[in-house]
Symmetry: C2
Subunit: 548 residues, 2 copies
């Protein structure tokens, strides 16, 4: 058979109907892509993190035409285009050397299951388009609720499938989950009563008037995810009312500072809508002191939300779950299944301790999600949604609690091991040690460290600023080479004169080994000796004077 | 080989690592599922819309255990479970007789492409995890922008890949797209200036104070999607400030009524944040008079948003695109790719006429989406997102404009044909004729119609209420039989004493034929003669007296 088995590309109805009924044929390009994926999932994209050295500007030229394609294209031609221009220029997020972001390898069974999901194309907004997927999603919410809150069988038996209750809400990711949680917190903070219809109906300004408040704030760590600021904007508080509270040197928010900020804002007539604790900060993987924050939230009689998008699955591990002690007191918790549950993008979950909390954002329509129905869409931020709960369900079953625990423990211990080797190296500096499986560090040659120790404050600031530029250059060069990848960020510390630009490493890929990480340190040393960073370092050393 | 090729299910690290590297084997259950999908996409779930007569309550018993699975499960066992308990009890949304909702058949190539997407697992929030997918998504936004706004090559060449501009934002569906559009509208309505930091930073109450407004409203058709009310709640306006404006008898919002409402609210000191036109109402598929609404919005100097989640692709058809005339004057437009672009759930797009409009919701972080970067995440509501733009791109290429036009035209003409046959039938009543490809009707036997004509207002109200119950029963019985499916909704009309419960039909599945629809009318007639509806009808007839 020729590779163009899909008939000539004329826009006839007959041709179009074939696209809806005729399966791919064995020799088509798409089938070859599938076979290649199936035969060698980890190696499909080769060894490189980024397979090609083409610049983004060059790639953009392949996607510059905004004219609508007029006539149909062969499926095989489109598949060839995708292979050449998209797949070849994509990022190998599953590569063991890709340790810079939270996107990691997936277990192989997620691929056929994703295809099954598309084949079924259920819409979880309502049972009429999801049937068994609705109880399945509720069961998954029950399992995850139990992981966090650990209530007993009777609690779940009475509520799991009851239309008046919801243990949580699925959404497209952590941002939607955080937004859902804070939406609930806001609506519950300004309930209806005495001529006021509640903030959901009457709006923010009327709520403040009725409840005699000057405004409302959310208190969170300065290391909180940027989605919290988006939520403050969206929900009408304003980003400035997301109060960034100082962290200690270990990057955990200070409960006393949270309490002080809460009292200060309350004294100004503001309502504290929520206190947010982070279980796994995005940049440094630290866990806020959740039990102490729960106390502060209780003192303020406010909603306690924990953003555990990253760190939540630590609860699977008996060895490390205590790091999150206090999470069970949270009113709401965000988890991201597409992170450490190893589900494809994008799948986040907001869990609520009180299974009636989501009623604060309940909504109905005449044609679906009618009052009393089992339709999940009555309490989700989104409307139409795919059935990704099936993937979470499969992850929970195939890995089991034990399996997820092993993966979590492996990541944390790999991070501790790597941190120890960075700390022991004379030419690297560990900036934030891992509490979970994220750490930050930088290349800092011995002469630089000696010069810094000998310098006065102004000299230190110059040395730090210079090294920050080197770090940016090194990260870019490493990324451009495409053999391995770390991300970078800039962290401010009370005890350092300048913010510090660092390499950021996330160790969640089960295929990443100590040897891969050691090789990466060697690669960074080599780049520091030979790339544009070498010139920056030489200039910095000359400027630093004799101590260097 | 045995069906359990994945090794015994012990939670060893070795076993877990295999899950990340070893592909499915040819004889595994998952591979058989894939083969079955590939061999017979349309017939995979059989002829039934719902494959089994088990009730939702029965199915819930299969998903009642909230205990976390402790040990790993074989992939093949999980796959068998999914086949038995989930796939067998899912809804055949692709069936040609499933004409009740907007979820429809997909072209076959979406299945392997979905698997490819999962294999790549790119994260579109930033180029470091998406590379070529970022320009690809921007190109798709350019094509869709061009479909709606039709600007010239120079316009797009200067903006398509420029980090300071965004022609639109991808999201998980129409709800996120509508919310994004109204978020932008809100933030632009209350800009910074003179000691006020803008609503995004300062919040809703401060914005009203600074701009000396009593409040803010959104004006939309009473037939607008329920996501608009959610957006009004989320954004801090309050649901009551989504002003539902009356429609004419043809279910299109009245521009004079919108203008009058706008003037009335402005006179009360309110700001009109946005006027929303609907291009394809969810329940009846009607298109608001967009050009006239654009005029009203211009008069009010307010944001004009068009929710074209359903009807947008009508623009592909030279024959029917005029139905949406005026959409090119919208400040923002919502499209759902998972509806009439035949992409799997969930993929929606908000387009903006002004490529700088999205800067009103721009945000940054230290580790990604830094200022000046090409990262798409700086102007999306969501953070981490999958690369569904690849599926939209493939749809646009494989169907071409001509192909989508043919599908749109076929649906509209099938709906008109079906409406004519309903109107001609003595025992059915067409309630809303199709403007696009959605219509509503009900079973109303000749004796009922005669009795209604002869009745006084109170008698008519009784007859309508009785027939509404019959309609609910018929819809439920038809759904339970599982051979075909219509949805139901309840529509209020100025010239009818009672709201009317109707069957709702959406004709977007290219495999649906007139013969299938005729058979469905016969099935409904048979149900009216034999199901519990027959008893309800007999009682109603007895009550109606001699005219029946």
């Amino acid at each position: 058979m020729s590779p163009r088995t899909e008939r000539p590309a004329t826009a006839s109805l007959e041709h179009l109907l074939r696209l809806f009924t005729v399966p791919e044929t064995a020799d088509s390009t798409l089938a070859r892509i599938e076979q290649a994926l199936s035969a060698n999932l980890a190696g499909f994209l080769g060894d490189h993190v980024v397979a090609s050295a083409r610049s983004l500007a060059d790639i953009e030229a392949d996607f510059a035409d905004t004219r609508l394609p007029e006539a149909p294209t062969f499926v095989s031609d489109q598949a060839e285009f995708l292979l050449d221009k998209v797949v070849a220029e994509s990022v190998h997020t599953a590569a063991p050397g890709f340790v810079g972001h939270m996107t990691t390898a997936l277990p192989y069974f997620m691929l056929p299951l994703t295809k099954l999901l598309t084949g079924l194309n259920q819409n979880l907004v309502k049972t009429e388009t999801s049937k068994a997927f609705t109880p399945l999603e509720r069961q998954v919410l029950g399992m995850l609720h139990r992981l966090v809150y650990g209530r007993d069988d009777a609690f779940y038996a009475a509520r799991l499938h009851d239309p008046g209750h919801a243990l949580g809400a699925f959404g497209s990711g952590g941002t939607v989950a955080n937004l859902t949680a804070l939406w609930v917190a806001r609506n519950r903070a300004f309930p209806a009563g005495d001529g006021f219809a509640g903030i959901a109906r009457a709006g923010f300004a009327a709520a403040l008037r009725h409840h005699d408040c000057a405004g409302a704030v959310i208190l969170a760590s300065a290391r909180g995810h940027y989605s919290l600021a988006k939520a403050a904007d969206l929900l009408g508080l304003g980003r400035d009312q997301l109060v960034a509270v100082a962290s200690d040197r270990d990057d955990r928010v200070r409960p006393d500072a949270v309490a002080a900020a809460g009292r200060a804002w309350q004294a100004r007539g503001y309502r504290v809508l929520a206190i947010v604790g982070v279980a796994g900060t995005t940049e440094t993987g630290r866990v806020d002191p959740l039990a102490a924050l729960a106390e502060v939230a209780a003192d303020h009689a406010t909603h306690f939300h924990v953003d555990a998008a990253w760190g939540g699955p630590t609860l699977f591990s008996p060895r490390y779950r205590n790091l999150l002690a206090g999470i069970e007191r949270a009113d709401s918790v965000t988890l991201d299944a597409h992170k450490q549950l190893y589900v494809p993008l994008g799948c986040g979950i907001a869990l609520f301790r009180d299974p009636q909390a989501l009623n604060a954002v309940e909504h109905h329509a005449a044609y679906v999600i009618r009052a009393g129905s089992r339709d999940l869409g009555s309490r989700t931020l989104e409307g139409s949604r795919p059935g990704l709960a099936l993937l979470v369900h499969s992850g929970l079953r195939v890995f089991g609690r034990q399996g997820y625990a092993l993966l979590i423990e492996r990541g944390i211990e790999l991070a501790r091991d790597f941190a120890a080797r960075i700390a022991a190296a004379p030419d690297f500096e560990l900036i934030t040690a891992p509490e979970l499986n994220i750490l930050t560090y930088r290349y800092a040659p011995a002469w630089w460290q000696a010069a810094w120790r000998a310098a006065d404050p102004a000299g230190r600031a110059r040395l730090d600023a210079g090294l920050n530029e080197v770090t940016v250059t090194l990260q870019r060069c490493q990324r451009a080479r495409g053999l391995s990848f770390v991300s970078r960020t800039t962290l401010a510390f009370d005890d350092r004169p300048e913010p510090v630009t660092v390499f950021r490493v996330v160790l969640a890929n089960p295929l990443t080994t100590p040897a891969i990480l050691d090789a990466m340190l060697d690669e960074q040393r080599a780049l520091a000796a030979a790339s544009p960073a070498a010139e920056q370092l030489a200039a910095l050393r000359a400027q630093a004077g004799p101590a260097a």
